[in-house]
C-alpha cells in the first residue's frame, strides 16, 4: 500500500513530522493500527537497523528514525490498547546495583524501542529484586541487565537466582551486556544471552519472541 511505503520511507529519513501526518492519514483511511505499525513503522525501522548494521548509517540517524517511529506510535498506541492488540514484546532494562554506567544501557533501550518493543527503563543502580518484581508486575518478556564494572558483575547472577526463586526463570528471558562481559560469563550465571551492542540485542530479543 502506497501510504505504508511512504511512512516507511519518511521514517528512514527521520522526518518525524511527516511520519506523524502520514500515520494520521493512514488511520483516517481506515487502515488497521496493527498493519500501520508492522508494515509502515516497523518495516522502516528494520531497514534502518539493517543499514546501521552494515555501517551505512550511524547512531544519530537511528535515533532520528526512532524519534519518527515514536511520532507514529504515539497515535497508534491508544487505539491498540483499546483494541487489545498486544505489544510485540516488553523489556525491562537497567544497570545493576552499585554501577552507574548507563550510556550503553540507554543506547540499547533506544534501539529496542526503535524496533517497536515496549521498554521499561529502571535506570542505574537497580537492586536485583526490582528487575524481577517489575518483570512480573509488568508481564515483561525479557529482562536486560547492564554492567560495566567487574565488581558488580555478580549482581547479574543474583538477578538470575531471584528469577528462579520467583518461578519466572525461562519464561522471562534474561539478556546481559556491558564491556567486561562475554558469552561464557552469561552462560555461567545462567543468563539466556549475551549481546555486545544494541543491534545485537534487537536481533536476540526478536529471536526469543519468535520462539516464545
Amino acid at each position: 500500500m502506497e501510504i505504508l511505503k511512504q511512512i516507511s520511507e519518511s521514517l528512514e529519513k527521520g522526518d518525524f513530522n511527516r511520519v506523524g501526518e502520514l500515520t494520521q492519514q493512514a488511520l483516517d483511511q481506515g487502515l488497521d493500527p496493527k498493519v500501520i505499525l508492522d508494515d509502515g513503522l516497523i518495516a522502516g525501522m528494520s531497514i534502518v537497523g539493517q543499514k546501521f548494521k552494515v555501517h551505512e548509517i550511524f547512531l544519530p540517524d537511528v535515533l532520528l528514525a526512532a524519534k519518527a517511529m515514536y511520532a507514529g506510535m504515539d497515535l497508534l498506541k491508544p487505539l491498540m490498547i483499546k483494541e487489545n492488540i498486544p505489544s510485540i514484546g516488553k523489556v525491562v532494562m537497567g544497570t545493576v546495583q552499585g554501577d552507574l554506567h548507563d550510556i550503553g544501557k540507554n543506547l540499547v533501550s533506544i534501539m529496542l524501542k526503535g524496533a517497536g518493543l515496549d521498554v521499561i527503563d529502571l535506570g542505574n543502580d537497580v537492586p536485583p529484586a526490582k528487575f524481577v518484581d517489575t518483570a512480573i508486575s509488568e508481564n515483561a518478556d525479557v529482562i536486560g541487565i547492564s554492567t560495566l564494572l567487574t565488581t558488580t558483575m555478580p549482581v547479574m547472577g543474583e538477578v538470575v537466582e531471584m528469577a528462579k526463586e520467583r518461578g519466572v526463570y525461562g519464561k522471562v528471558k534474561i539478556i546481559v551486556g556491558g564491556a567486561p562481559l562475554n558469552a561464557d560469563y552469561a552462560e555461567q550465571i545462567g543468563a539466556d544471552a549475551y549481546c555486545f551492542d544494541g543491534v545485537n540485542a534487537v536481533d536476540c530479543v526478536k529471536r526469543f519472541l519468535g520462539a516464545g
Partner: protein, 485 residues
C-alpha cells in the same frame, strides 16, 4: 627553551572558566550523597533537595580553587621523593583498571589473574621512564568486591613506585587507606608524603554519584591526593564542539575541587580527566582520537590557568593488538601531552578504550616516554660557542667520535632507545633472527622480569599488609589469597 604547545588563548580560557561557573551557579550539580550535600549547604551553597541539585556560586568556587595546593609530590614506599607534580614537569603513569590483558603466547585478549599482575608490577619496577605505577590490571581470580584493594596490595608489596589507583566502592577505601598508613607508619607521615593518587569520576553531565563523591570526602580527610576524571563525550553527553566540551569538563572538575577543598582545605588534587570524542559509528569512546587529545591538552591549559597541577588519560590506544595503530595513537597522544606540560600522563600499556593491558606494549611505550622526556628538555647550547675549536678538531682528526666534547655530552644530548627499537642494518637484523616488534618487546618483558629484585620492605610491614588484605578477603568469602610470587 622548553618546547610548549598551546591550543587556547588566555581570553578563551577565561571565557570557558566563566561559562563553567555560570553553569554551576545556574544549573548546578547533581549530588547523590547527603554528606557532600550538607557540606556544601553548610558553606552557603543553595540546595534543591528534591532534585539533589546543588548550586555553587562563583565566590565559593574561586575560594576553593585558591585553597587547593599549586603543586605536590609523590613518594615511593620507602618515603623517597619520586614524582614532582608542578609547573610543566611531566610524569608518565601506566593506564589504569583494565579488565583484560593481551596474552603474548596466544596473542589473544583474556581475563587477567594474579600472576599477570605480579608480572606487571615486576616489569613496572624496571620501567626507566615511567615513575609511577598504577593498579592497571583488574584480577579475575579474587572476589570482585576486593578486586580494587587487592590490586593495590600487590602493587605495594612488589614495586616501590607511587601508585595511581581508585576505589570501586565506598567500603574499599578503608582498607586501601589502612595499607598506606601501614607503609608510612602513621597518618601524619602519609599526609606529608603521599603514596597514591585516587581517581574519582564525576558522571556527565554535572553529576556526582554516592560512591565517587564519598571517595572525595574520604581522600580529603586523609590528604590522599585525588585526580578528578571528568568524561564528557562530545556530541553525546556533552556539546559536540571542543569548546562546549571544555566548558562542561571545567564545570565538572571545579565542582570536584569545591567538594575536596571544603572537606579539607589544602587537600592535594590533580586537575585531570578522560574526556573523549564519541564515535557515533561504533558507539565507542576513542582515546586515540585527535579531538580527544586536543580536549585533553586544552583542559590542561585551563587547569594551569587556575594554578593547579594536571593529569590526563592520553598516550594510549584503542587498537586490540600491539600494532601500528597502537604505536601511532600512543606516541601522538604522549607527545602532545608532554608538549602541553600535562603533569601526570596516564596511558602507557593500555589498549582497547582503557579495557586491555599489554605488558609488551608497556615496554614499547616506555621507549616513547624516554624519547619524549628527551624532547621536552629542548635544545640548549652546550659549549657550542665558539664553534671553531670543534670544527678544527674534526678537520684534524677526520671525526669527532672520541673528542672530549663528544664524550662529555653524548649520553645527555643524544637519546638512545632500548632493545625494542631496532636500529640495526638489514643484514644484521636478519642475522639476529629478523625479530618483529612484538617479539622484541616480549624478549624485553622476559629480560626485565628475570632481573627483577623485590623492594626491601620490612617483614613487619609486609605482614601488616598481608593481614589487612587477608581480613578483607575473608570478609568477602575468600579464605586464602592466590599465591602471588
Amino acid at each position: 627553551m622548553r618546547p610548549t604547545l598551546r591550543f587556547l588563548s588566555d581570553q578563551l580560557i577565561e571565557q570557558i572558566v566563566s561559562e563553567a561557573q555560570e553553569l554551576l551557579s545556574k544549573i548546578g550539580v547533581e549530588i547523590h550523597n547527603d554528606n557532600v550535600t550538607s557540606l556544601l549547604a553548610d558553606n552557603g551553597a543553595r540546595v534543591d533537595n528534591e532534585k539533589k541539585r546543588v548550586f555553587i556560586s562563583r565566590d565559593l568556587i574561586e575560594s576553593c580553587v585558591k585553597a587547593a595546593p599549586k603543586a605536590f609530590k609523590l613518594y615511593d614506599v620507602f618515603g623517597e621523593e619520586a614524582v614532582d607534580l608542578s609547573g610543566y614537569n611531566i610524569n608518565f603513569v601506566p593506564g589504569s583498571a583494565s579488565i583484560n590483558i593481551l596474552d603474548y603466547e596466544s596473542d589473544r585478549i583474556r581475563r587477567p589473574v594474579t600472576s599477570d599482575i605480579v608480572d606487571f608490577t615486576k616489569l613496572m619496577s624496571g620501567m626507566q621512564y615511567i615513575d609511577s605505577q598504577a593498579t592497571s590490571i583488574v584480577p579475575s581470580d579474587v572476589p570482585e568486591k576486593i578486586s580494587d584493594s587487592y590490586r593495590l596490595y600487590l602493587s605495594l608489596i612488589h614495586c616501590s613506585k607511587p601508585v595511581v589507583t581508585g576505589a570501586f566502592t565506598i567500603d574499599a577505601f578503608n582498607v586501601m587507606k589502612d595499607m598506606q598508613v601501614a607503609i608510612r607508619r602513621s597518618r601524619d607521615e602519609l599526609k606529608s608524603k603521599p603514596l597514591t593518587i585516587f581517581s574519582c569520576c564525576p558522571t556527565a553531565p554535572l553529576k556526582w554519584s554516592n560512591v565517587t563523591s564519598q571517595n572525595l570526602l574520604d581522600c580529603a580527610e586523609y590528604f590522599i591526593p585525588v585526580e578528578y576524571i571528568s568524561m564528557p563525550l562530545t556530541g553525546f553527553m556533552a556539546p559536540v564542539t571542543l569548546v562546549g566540551t571544555l566548558i562542561q569538563h571545567t564545570a565538572e572538575t571545579l565542582s570536584g575541587i569545591v567538594i575536596s577543598q571544603l572537606a579539607n582545605p589544602g587537600a592535594p588534587v590533580l586537575y585531570g580527566g578522560s574526556p573523549s570524542v564519541f564515535d557515533i559509528r561504533y558507539e565507542t569512546t576513542p582515546m586515540g582520537d585527535v579531538g580527544t587529545m586536543m580536549i585533553d591538552c586544552a583542559y590542561n591549559e585551563v587547569g594551569k590557568h587556575l594554578g593547579l597541577p594536571t593529569q590526563a588519560y592520553i598516550g594510549l590506544s584503542d587498537s586490540k593488538q600491539l600494532d601500528a595503530q597502537a604505536g601511532l595513537e600512543t606516541s601522538m597522544g604522549a607527545t602532545l601531552a608532554a608538549l602541553s606540560g600535562i603533569n601526570s600522563i596516564s596511558g602507557p600499556g593500555m589498549l582497547d578504550f582503557e579495557s586491555c593491558f599489554s605488558l609488551e606494549k608497556l615496554v614499547v611505550d616506555n621507549e616513547i616516554c624516554g624519547m619524549i622526556q628527551r624532547m621536552v628538555q629542548g635544545i640548549e647550547p652546550k659549549e657550542d660557542f665558539p664553534c671553531l675549536p670543534h670544527f678544527e678538531e674534526m678537520m684534524k682528526e677526520q671525526h669527532l667520535l672520541i673528542y672530549d666534547h663528544t664524550r662529555k655530552y653524548l649520553k645527555s644530548e643524544i637519546h638512545f632507545p632500548g632493545n625494542v627499537i631496532n636500529r640495526a642494518n638489514k643484514a644484521r637484523w636478519e642475522e639476529e633472527g629478523s625479530l618483529t616488534l612484538r617479539e622484541r618487546a616480549h624478549k624485553e618483558v622476559e629480560r626485565i622480569i628475570e632481573g627483577y629484585e623485590a623492594p626491601e620492605l620490612s617483614e613487619e610491614i609486609i605482614m601488616e599488609l598481608r593481614n589487612l588484605m587477608e581480613t578483607e578477603a575473608k570478609k568477602h568469602g575468600m579464605d586464602r589469597l592466590p599465591v602471588s610470587d
